[in-house]
Subunit: 201 residues, 2 copies
């Protein structure tokens, strides 16, 4: 008898409808304002039913995080397949990564835990400019000493900061405690690549 099958199917549909309602919420108001109550409201059921399908709110977010990584991985694999040379592949994949992040911003923020109240905050902060000033002045000096004096210092500043922040935050996301001292090799690797391309004669 197909009763059991039907039940499983219905359960699966229910689960899917929860995710769909949640996703609509995320798309319209961002995932930080997603709430169980709003989901329950959207699917026109009471709150506790959601807990029959997901252990907690975190499990729902985890679901989307997985989806996000899956989509990104697929995209990268597909893009890679369009080129033959590894160098061209890496470049195309980088652009695809960038495009994915901004075309699926909600996914990306979820995947990498970007908590985003900082968005409003960081723009109010004059103190950040002090930091930028120190970095930019040094980069200007480096450019002045190099053979390519027309290099865009502001571009290089952004690159420098982005590399540093990327290294740090990837490290923070992956491991809770202090970083393995050997992980500083990654820093050394990335930064020496940047510097040598900057001061190259």
């Amino acid at each position: 008898m197909g009763i059991a099958e039907r039940k499983i199917r219905q359960k699966e549909e229910f689960r899917a409808s929860i995710l769909e309602a949640a996703w609509l919420q995320v798309l319209s108001d961002g995932w930080q304002s997603l709430s169980i109550r709003k989901i329950a409201d959207a699917i026109e059921y009471s709150i506790p039913v959601i807990y029959n399908h997901f252990e907690n709110k975190e499990a729902i977010l985890l679901e989307f995080t997985k989806e996000g990584f899956e989509k990104l991985a697929d995209t990268l694999a597909e893009v890679k397949g369009r080129h033959l040379e590894p160098a061209a592949q890496l470049e195309a994949m980088a652009h695809a990564y960038w495009d994915f992040a901004f075309e699926h911003k909600e996914y990306y923020q979820l995947m990498f835990g970007l908590g985003i109240p900082a968005c409003d905050r960081v723009n109010q902060i004059a103190e950040m400019k002090q930091m930028a000033t120190v970095m930019i002045s040094t980069i200007k000096e480096a450019i002045a000493m190099s053979s390519r004096k027309d290099t865009d210092f502001f571009l290089k500043y952004h690159t420098y900061l982005s590399i540093l922040h990327g290294l740090v935050s990837i490290q923070m996301i992956q491991k809770e405690g202090k970083p393995d001292e050997s992980k500083k090799m990654i820093l050394q690797d990335a930064i020496s690549g940047f510097i040598s391309s900057l001061v190259t004669v």
Copy 2:
């Protein structure tokens, strides 16, 4: 009469005591679990008095964010002063940046809005490995075609991912909407530096 002065001084002390209590909270349980009630409890006053000194919770966090950027800027300026060559300065500053981030993790997370539930999440995600696999295989191929076949592919993978994530998240933090298409030049800049240092013959 010094009454007015005393009042101002007391108000300032009060404000400082709020910040101190808040910071102890952040240090012991992380800033995501900071609450107005806990602060009020710690300073042994009722909740609303806090709103006489700070407009809202965000304003308290903003205070620490400013402090963080100030400390970081000072550190960078100090480290820069210890070297003469811009290249050496940029390298030393990079290491100082890294050290600051992990020695003052709470500051750093606040400054760049690292929302950090992802920490627990990202480790549960097998799907992330798919993405890693695509990237790593390409990097391996690039190394195989280069003259330096002993290059650490795992190191390069981390560098690659960190650069990409850094570019994206710095961009997301600074601007709300979609990124200026010209900002892709930063991506192009960073990634071509990485690639050329990888495949260099």
